[in-house]
């Protein structure tokens, strides 16, 4: 059974992908560091402090998060991941997007050819409902259909 959530469009676009869920803040630098360093096209998460994501491939996933945390290089790291083709299919935030994630998403949108839709403000229920592996569809108006 599917459930629909409505968020705010930060970067427009549509995508369908399997969810990869982190209930805790997503540390962009720690998560992408090894993927960037070792040119891992699957972009396996290297953040040892995030057991939900650690060693799971982020490339092509619908990354479902509350917000991002960590170094202020975070936006630049996300931009690099996108420019190198390691980006998630989309970024879906339960909370309002933070300044680092917003910068990375917008840099990727303006300065690369990659499509990585970003929706925020999906609410706490979204993050409670969505589970890793379930199918997620993102529509251009910020509608997110889970399941």
């Amino acid at each position: 059974m599917s459930k629909t959530f409505q968020g705010r469009v930060v970067v427009p676009g549509s995508a369908t992908a399997q969810a990869l869920v982190s209930k805790q803040g997503f540390n962009t630098l720690a998560s992408f560091q090894k993927a960037l360093m070792f040119k891992d096209k699957n972009a396996k998460c290297s953040d040892q402090n995030n057991p939900e994501l650690y060693e799971k491939p982020m490339h092509g996933a619908a990354l479902c998060l509350p917000q991002t945390i960590g170094s202020t290089t975070g936006g630049m790291v996300l931009f690099c991941a996108a420019a190198l083709g390691q980006q998630p299919a989309c970024l879906l935030f339960s909370k309002p997007i933070d300044s680092l994630a917003a910068a990375g998403a917008i840099l990727a949108d303006v300065w690369t050819d990659v499509s990585m839709p970003v929706v925020d403000n999906l609410g706490e229920e979204f993050l409670s409902y969505v589970t890793t592996g379930v199918s997620v569809e993102v529509k251009a108006d910020g509608t997110v259909i889970v399941g």
Partner: protein
């Protein structure tokens, strides 16, 4: 909501200053609109500051972007300083680690050339503590900045009363290029209101690094108003107080995402505006001795062998001030005398800006410090620890920021002095 731009800003966005400048402006506008900014405001600080100082070979898209800017003549409208360099030949490393460093940071020389072309203030401008007097990038109260380095942003906002959002790398350069930043968040009076009251009720002066860590983990990106701390560190922003707040702020920003704090009776806005800075319905966090002990004991030890003897010690993340270099020299000398040693028991690196080191070198303490075997460096300890081979080493530090981002193990200043003067862990 669409942002209202000045004619100059609109011209940039429309491409009248070229396609690359239009993309720079478009990025800033989209960024601002995401946070409800209704306008851009001029960057008024004398200098920018870049968080990206490292020529990490995997960051090719960044260097390609920099080339686009340079090739199009889209340079920074203001000079800027940058975070510390990732390499220093004086810092101990094995041959294998050194080899890895040169592969990791193979773009360093090329990247520094790009920075010089874009507007780097000088060869000596690499430090995270750009606001120290000797560096030449100390904003004034009320200045609007386009900065990203988290420890510098929180210091500039809180201690100097300047205004910067906690921007991402690249975005901060774009603000320096365009000469304007979107008006939201910590640039606004409303965004600078405290949504947390922190009551410090400890029996003695709290360790800056642990107090900052506790507050950061509790309030995350919100603004705390800290009561009770000035009882311990005074009501004047002298060298001791600013050094304390530098390390305290870096811990709030790395253990959480704090971009601004107010210290009652001490920091400029708290002195001027007092409790009117506290937002309605602000939450309260009480910190006593037990709470600080709980926070410190929660830090995980990331070493493979937690009982290993330290192989290296870093002091100075963020970089040490001149006063801190003198204080550490005295404290270390006293500790070594007490333990009957003349040299540190563990290879030790103190990091500070090149320009601070030059001042320090003129004093007798320089010979005293280096005579004890301490290496003085301008390196970024975090970049050093990012080398996977260094990350496997048992490294100790008094920096909560370094602890947070790497495998380095945190100890208080007193514990570090004990390790350096007696060895062991």
């Amino acid at each position: 909501m669409a942002m209202i731009l000045s004619p100059d800003q609109q011209a940039m966005l429309n491409g009248e200053k070229g396609d690359v400048m239009a993309k720079v402006m478009k990025t800033l506008v989209l960024y601002g609109e995401t946070f409800g900014a209704e306008k851009m405001v001029p960057v008024t600080g004398g200098c920018g500051h870049l968080v990206t100082s490292f020529g990490l070979s995997v960051m090719k898209p960044v260097y390609a972007l920099m080339d686009q800017l340079i090739d199009s003549g889209v340079l920074s409208g203001q000079k800027f300083t940058a975070d510390p360099r990732p390499l220093d030949k004086n810092v101990p490393k094995s041959m294998l680690q050194d080899l890895f460093f040169h592969v990791m940071y193979s773009k360093q020389a090329d990247y520094e050339k790009q920075l010089q072309t874009l507007g780097l203030l000088s060869e000596d401008s690499f430090t995270c503590a750009c606001y120290l007097d000797q560096v030449g990038n100390k904003p004034k109260e009320g200045d609007v900045l386009s900065w990203a380095e988290s420890s510098a942003v929180v210091y500039a906002n809180s201690v100097l009363g300047a205004r910067s959002n906690r921007n991402s790398g690249i975005l901060e350069l774009f603000g320096s290029i365009a000469g304007c930043v979107p008006y939201f968040g910590l640039l606004t009076d409303a965004g600078r209101k405290a949504t947390w009251i922190v009551e410090v009720k400890t029996t003695k002066k709290p360790k800056a690094q642990i107090l900052g860590s506790a507050i950061g983990m509790k309030v995350m990106e919100e603004v705390p108003f800290v009561r009770g701390l000035s009882d311990f560190i005074g009501t004047e922003l002298n060298d001791d107080a600013t050094a304390y707040l530098k390390d305290f702020g870096a811990a709030t920003a790395s253990n959480g995402a704090v971009g601004l704090y107010h210290i009652e009776h001490l920091t400029p806005e708290a002195k001027e505006l007092g409790e009117s800075l506290i937002a309605t319905n602000a939450k309260t966090y009480v910190i006593d001795d037990a709470e600080l002990e709980r926070v410190k004991s929660s830090y995980p030890v990331m070493w493979k062998n937690p009982d290993a003897e330290p192989k290296l010690c870093f002091v100075g993340c963020p970089h040490l001030s001149l006063k801190q270099l003198h204080d550490w020299t005295t404290a270390l000398s006293d500790a070594l005398v007490k333990s009957g040693r003349t040299k540190v028991a563990v290879p030790t690196v103190f990091t500070s800006p090149v320009t601070v080191q030059r001042e320090f070198e003129k004093t007798a303490d320089y010979q005293k410090l280096t005579g004890m075997g301490v290496i003085l460096s301008y390196i970024c300890p975090l970049m050093y620890m990012n080398n996977p081979l260094c990350g496997k080493m048992p490294v100790v530090t008094n920096s909560n920021k370094l602890r947070t981002y790497t495998t380095a193990r945190y100890h208080t200043d007193a514990e570090i002095l004990n390790i350096l003067s007696k060895g062991g862990n």
